[in-house]
């Protein structure tokens, strides 16, 4: 674990840049992480990232891509349009939670 300055705040991140302490997250941090991955956040992006974040805070585990498609309000096809380079992991990174560990 190391520290990175994102949006002017020092946060704890892993080697891939996932926040390790969700409580350090702010929307400004999410925006800057998204921009670094070439993503301009829209309401739909936020819907997914915030759903993931909330699920993680509630359950301690990030939801699977299947759950995202069924319960976030954004279907699988759109998830891949919003986050072409890996929806679950990018949405988690932007939402300020650790990297999802599941295979699905």
């Amino acid at each position: 674990m190391s520290t990175a300055a994102i949006a002017g705040v020092d946060v704890d991140v892993d080697a891939e840049g996932f926040l390790q302490k969700p409580e350090q997250w702010t929307e400004a941090i999410g925006l800057e992480i998204a921009a670094a991955h070439g993503i301009t956040m829209t309401d739909r992006h936020w819907l997914v990232s915030k759903f993931m974040r909330q699920r993680y805070l509630d359950t301690g585990t990030a939801p699977t891509i299947r759950t995202l498609g069924k319960e976030s309000g954004v279907e699988i096809k759109e998830l891949y349009q919003l986050f072409p380079k890996g929806p679950a992991k990018l949405a988690a990174k932007i939402g300020g939670i650790p990297k999802p560990k599941g295979c699905i």
């Binding site: 699977t64 891509i65 299947r66 759950t67 498609g69 279907e75 699988i76 096809k77 891949y80 072409p84 380079k85 890996g86 929806p87 679950a88 992991k89 599941g102 295979c103 699905i104």
Partner: protein, 155 residues
């Protein structure tokens, strides 16, 4: 990462429950990482993209030493259905979708799904026999052309 995988082509040739899931999980995992993914269904693997058959795939309980069941016990009526049911239940707990839903998930994720021409001819099938999201029926040569520049995984 300089040597990150950018494309995979996965061949699924078996129609048993345990023969199908590894390929589907690998394919979905690829798309989740933003990796371009083709899935080539051949021989009994074509059951996965056949809507009349894909809800009914079962674990092979005969000739499957991994189950550690005596062969004659594995051959009892209903044994395959029972083991499949138990495994499917466990998978549902892990949020692994049933096969028809999994195939739809893959298609929606942008994985390209193909059937093998030789197998389609052998089983006397047509494009209409498969799910609507099947991209094409292709020859081995076309498969290699499509897989060029990426990894090929045979399950």
């Amino acid at each position: 990462m300089a040597d990150a995988i950018e494309k995979v082509s996965i061949i699924i040739s078996k129609g048993s429950f345990e023969g199908v899931y590894p390929g589907l999980i690998l394919a979905n995992g690829a798309r989740m990482e933003g990796i371009e993914c083709n899935v080539f269904f051949t021989f009994f693997g074509m059951d996965v993209i056949n809507p009349k058959k894909n809800p009914y795939l079962k674990v092979a309980t005969v000739g499957n030493p991994g189950l550690h069941l005596p062969t004659l016990v594995g051959a009892l009526p209903g044994m395959s259905a029972m083991v499949t049911h138990q495994m499917a239940k466990k998978m549902e707990e892990l949020d692994l979708p049933p096969i028809p839903e999994f195939v739809q998930l893959l298609a929606d994720s942008g994985a390209n799904l193909y059937a093998c021409k030789a197998s389609v001819d052998m089983f006397e099938l047509k494009k209409e026999d498969f799910i609507g999201d099947l991209k094409d029926i292709i020859t081995v040569g076309e498969f290699y052309a499509m897989a060029a520049g990426g990894q090929i995984i045979f399950t």
